[in-house]
Amino acid sequence: MNTGSAPISIVIPAYGAADLVERCLKALSLELNARGAIDETIVVDDGSPNEVPAAQGGAQGGAQGGAQGGAQGSAEPGTLARALAPAFPRVRFVTRRTNGGFARALTDGIAAAKHALVFALNSDVVVRVGTLAPLAAALEDPTVFAAVPRVLLDGDERRVESWVEFVPESGRVVFDQPCLTRRARAPREDRDVAFPVGGACLLRKREFVELGGFDPLFEPFYFEDADLGLAAWRGGKRTRLVVAAAVEHRHRGTISKVVGDEATGARLVHAAIGRNAWLLEWKHSTVDELRAHVAALERAATDAWITEDRERLVALALALERAEQALAAPRPAPGASLRDLAPRWCDTRPSSAG
């Protein structure tokens, strides 16, 4: 019987926003206390700026972890460590000297993790009590590469962000979140999904390292987790959505805050998403698929040009400028491309909730 009692290293990459991290740690401490202090918590300070205010007060006793507090990767404690360590003495802080982005910070955190199971967690995600054990239990199945909880957008039970899939559309394979885009009914049973969302997923440290971690092709953000999930899928592993586990994604537009204004931040984010969607598709397509794909590219470019859709054209321009890196990656074997994966989701697509 699966118990999910294996110890877990929780890794939280963060850039500034001590208030978010504090909220995240407070919620997490409840879960860790319930599990009996077998896990560890690592906050990776991704080169936060200095003007992070100190935390007003942590949870009683702080988040439970297996190692003593302190900074790693830097002789001096980072900004977040200075702000949060007094309130969360059992949390380990790994400080990066320079900002490297989510993927690199998470990779550093995983490298510092002591346990075989690693739970990647965004700082704007709040863990509900009882989340980790079902995820750990799911990973007791060796065919499962990663286990993801129901990531509920703003705590809404109907909006499950972690149910992700790829679907063919107009000669392309596009990313889809059925609960958000098609108002599909939230899953009531565990199911396979296309990849583990980086914001909240449990995976094995060893497999993460063996797969090479996150591909810098997708920096600064978005779709690095999809790429990792597809790489695992190509190796015969799958990602499991565990409905018994749930976290709340309290979206705060952190990138927009960092960039300056909301509009600019949104443009930047959309450009990254659009670009990386193309790169992901190109990286996981066979040569023949790529040749056939050129027509779709032409059509997409022409559509964007005629409708004067600057955003789409910008994403395409950025992707094309990085196409060489995507195309230089090893081609998937026949039957293991993104296009091969996509029909699986179509076959199992749930009916709309109406």
Partner: protein, 731 residues
């Protein structure tokens, strides 16, 4: 740098100072390697409203925005509908680093707000009084100079007066104002009255409120731009006085193409004096003052007029004024012809009646080596050094203008002296240098980003900040490389598309179609809304009709019920009337009965009173009778005693014979003979008296026992009758 220039017109369609200057600046910037885009409105009836067409000229691109629809309201005039969005879309496509607005006429304030929303810094050059005068020239409709700055009451009065001018068709461009002396009397009075309006009427108050709001909005829009350039110190001070932030208002003189004008043929020092008027023939430019001043000066002075106007009525008036003067109308000219234009004159005249800012014609005249004769007004005093390189004259003072010209006609030496002092004005290159420095100043500072975002943000900015055509070209190149990389056929439809001029025209048409579709969709929505409203109204009408019918039927029923009720009420009323009459009769009868009863009561009371009197009398009678009886008894006793004494004995009782007894002699003889008779009489009398006494006792007893019966008429009468009879009998 990608620079967007915005103006209200552009050569060759518009060929006056500002438009020509913007064209020169665009060419100058382009010559320096900047990517220059000019957005200007134009009228093009064959194109849809707000349709955009591009034209490449002298290294820069002109974007003609079609503006065919005339403004219908003051608000439309200030912010024409749709322009803001069209300009925003244009900014989205062209992505300039800075927008330099030279005028917003015909485009409206929307260009400023669109740029602000797109986060593109704006530099605004104030070429006139637009910031605080919606009429731009700061002249009132009677062509007098306005003395207020930013007073909405003064501005609203101008609106009222201008609307009065609208009644005179022959005025042509009536909005520019008119010489009131030339107006029909009723219009003149109306204009004069409007300029002194006290806003008591509802219309005037509404207009004042609207003007207040529009002026405030205009000033706020201008105050929000990053930098306001004023070509003259005079205007810079005015702008600050009007409310623009002083730290954003900068005096920045304009330059001109000095090199092109330096080659102008030198002025003459002999022959007829040639005056030159160069510029638009608008009313505020004061050409009419100059023409009037020249009247009567003869053929030794000529006026060369180079310029044009769209106001045919005013043009005809000027020609009328020029009839007795040596004047030639040369019409408009291209910027390239300026040297030839200035070569025609020996002195440049600027007889403006409005407060000029910094008319380029002065700088150009100096560049051509001509002294300037100008009005002492506005910024002209900053350009013309009075008595050094020109002469300043009171504006509108025909006599003053005439006397200066007359002196020069007689003696050209002063003019030659002025000409010798003329200095080359500021060059266009110098102005361009200053403007580029200003543009750099207003560019937003780059924001510090986290290290992980710097590279991507830079890449993104390069792509997203590029003009749309450049971006498309980038994608086309990337697509070609991608094709090659994956071994796909080389021909790229997209690359061919974006590099085709025809395709770009198609894109223009597609954009027009899109805009038209949006317009149609908007219209359709409006119609659907109207239709829905009509349907709603029809349904409401149907429901109202049904309600009306139901109410009508109810009312009819109610009416019938009311009629029936009325009839019943009438009937009842008649009954009541009848009953009332009966009651009235009964009342009268009752009244009569009451009177009778009152009378009877009085009678009864009288009878009772009389009865009381009778009773009293009877009591007294009884008392007397008692006394009398007692006397009689005593008499009888005495009589009996006497009789006894007399031997006769006394067989009878007492009798009332005292009186006779007293009168009778007490002689025994006589007494003895009469005594039996007298005794018998006494006895009879005694018996009668006794009977009477008994009767009265009985009567009194009966009366006391049966008072009611006693008071009954019959009984009373009977008793009275009986008493009367009894009294008679007694008598």
């Amino acid at each position: 740098m990608r620079i967007a220039l915005v103006a209200h017109g552009f050569p060759p369609l518009e060929r006056t100072g500002v438009e020509n200057h913007v064209a020169e600046l665009a060419a100058e910037f382009a010559r320096r390697g900047h990517d220059v885009h000019v957005c200007v409105p134009r009228r093009h009836p064959r194109l849809a409203e707000l349709a955009l067409r591009t034209e490449t000229r002298a290294g820069f691109t002109i974007h003609w925005l079609t503006r065919n629809e005339p403004p219908r309201t003051a608000a439309d005039h200030q912010e024409p509908p749709g322009v803001e969005r069209a300009f925003a879309e244009w900014l989205e496509r062209e992505r300039p680093d800075v927008v330099h607005v030279h005028h917003v006429a015909k485009l409206g304030l929307g260009v400023l707000s669109a740029a602000r929303h797109a986060c593109v810094p704006v530099v605004f050059t104030a070429h006139d009084h637009f910031a605080y005068c919606h009429r731009i020239v700061h002249l009132r409709p009677d062509l007098s100079r306005c003395t207020s700055v930013g007073d909405p009451r003064a501005c609203a009065r101008c609106d009222l007066a201008a609307s009065a001018l609208n009644r005179v068709r022959s005025l042509g461009d009536w909005q520019a104002g008119a010489d009131v002396e030339r107006l029909p009397r009723d219009v003149r009075e109306r204009v004069v009255g409007a300029l002194e309006d006290d806003f008591r009427s509802r219309r005037a108050r509404a207009l004042l409120d609207e003007r207040h709001a529009l002026d405030a909005r205009r000033l706020a829009a201008l105050a929000a731009v990053e930098l306001v350039l004023a070509p003259s110190r005079f205007l810079a001070e005015r702008l600050v006085h009007a409310g623009l932030p002083s730290e954003r208002v900068i005096h920045e003189p304009q330059g001109c193409d000095v090199a092109a004008l330096a080659a102008t043929e030198p002025a003459r020092s002999n022959g007829a004096l040639r005056l030159g008027f160069v510029g638009g023939l608008s009313k505020h430019k004061g050409l009419h003052v100059l023409l009037e001043a020249l009247a009567g000066l003869g053929p030794r002075v000529r006026l060369e007029i180079s310029g044009e106007t769209s106001d045919a009525a005013w043009h005809a008036h000027l020609r009328e004024l020029a009839r007795g003067v040596e004047a030639t109308f040369h019409g408009g000219f291209a910027a390239s012809e300026r040297a030839r234009v200035f070569a025609r004159c020996d002195v440049v005249c600027v007889p403006s009646i409005w407060e000029e800012n910094a008319p380029l014609v002065v700088a150009e005249g100096f560049a051509a080596g001509r002294p300037v004769l100008a009005s002492r007004l506005g910024g002209l005093g900053e350009l013309v050094r009075d008595g050094v390189d020109g002469v300043l004259v009171e504006p509108g003072d025909v006599g003053a203008w005439r006397s200066v010209i007359a002196v020069w006609i007689r003696d050209r030496a002063p003019l030659d002296a002025l000409r010798a002092n003329v200095r080359a004005p500021r060059t266009l290159a110098a102005e361009a240098d200053a403007l580029l420095a200003h543009y750099q100043r207003v560019l937003p500072a780059p924001r510090a980003l986290p290290g992980s975002l710097v590279g991507f943000a830079r890449e993104h900015a390069a792509a997203d900040g590029a003009a749309f055509d450049a971006l498309a070209e980038r994608v086309a190149r990337g697509l070609e490389a991608f094709r090659e990389r994956v071994g796909a056929p080389r021909e790229s439809g997209f690359a061919a598309l974006v590099r085709s001029a025809v395709a770009r025209d198609v894109l223009d048409v597609a954009r027009d179609s899109r805009r038209e579709r949006e317009w149609l969709a908007t219209s359709l929505r409006a119609r659907q809304d109207a239709s829905a409203e009509l349907t709603k109204l029809a349904r409401a009408k149907r429901e109202a009709d049904e309600r009306y019918r139901a109410e009508h039927a109810a009312l009819l029923a109610e009416r019938d019920a009311v009629i029936a009720a009325k009839r019943a009420a009438d009937h009842e009323l008649a009954e009541l009337v009848r009953h009332a009459e009966t009651l009235k009769l009964e009342l009268e009868r009752a009244a009569r009965e009451h009177t009778r009863l009152v009378d009877e009561l009085a009678t009864k009371r009288e009878a009772e009173r009389r009865l009381q009197q009778l009773v009293q009398a009877a009591v007294e009678d009884r008392k007397r009778v008692g006394e009398h009886i007692a006397w009689l008894e005593r008499s009888l006793a005495e009589l009996a005693a006497d009789l006894t004494d007399c031997g006769g004995g006394a067989g009878g009782g007492a009798g009332g014979v005292g009186a006779s007894r007293g009168a009778e002699p007490r002689d025994g003889t006589a007494l003895g003979s009469a005594l039996p008779e007298r005794l018998a009489q006494a006895r009879r009398a005694f018996a009668e008296m006794r009977a009477e006494l008994e009767f009265r006792r009985a009567e009194m007893r009966a009366a006391l026992d049966d008072k009611t019966g006693f008071f009954g008429k019959g009984a009373l009468g009977l008793r009275l009758e009986r008493w009367r009879t009894r009294a008679e009998e007694r008598r």
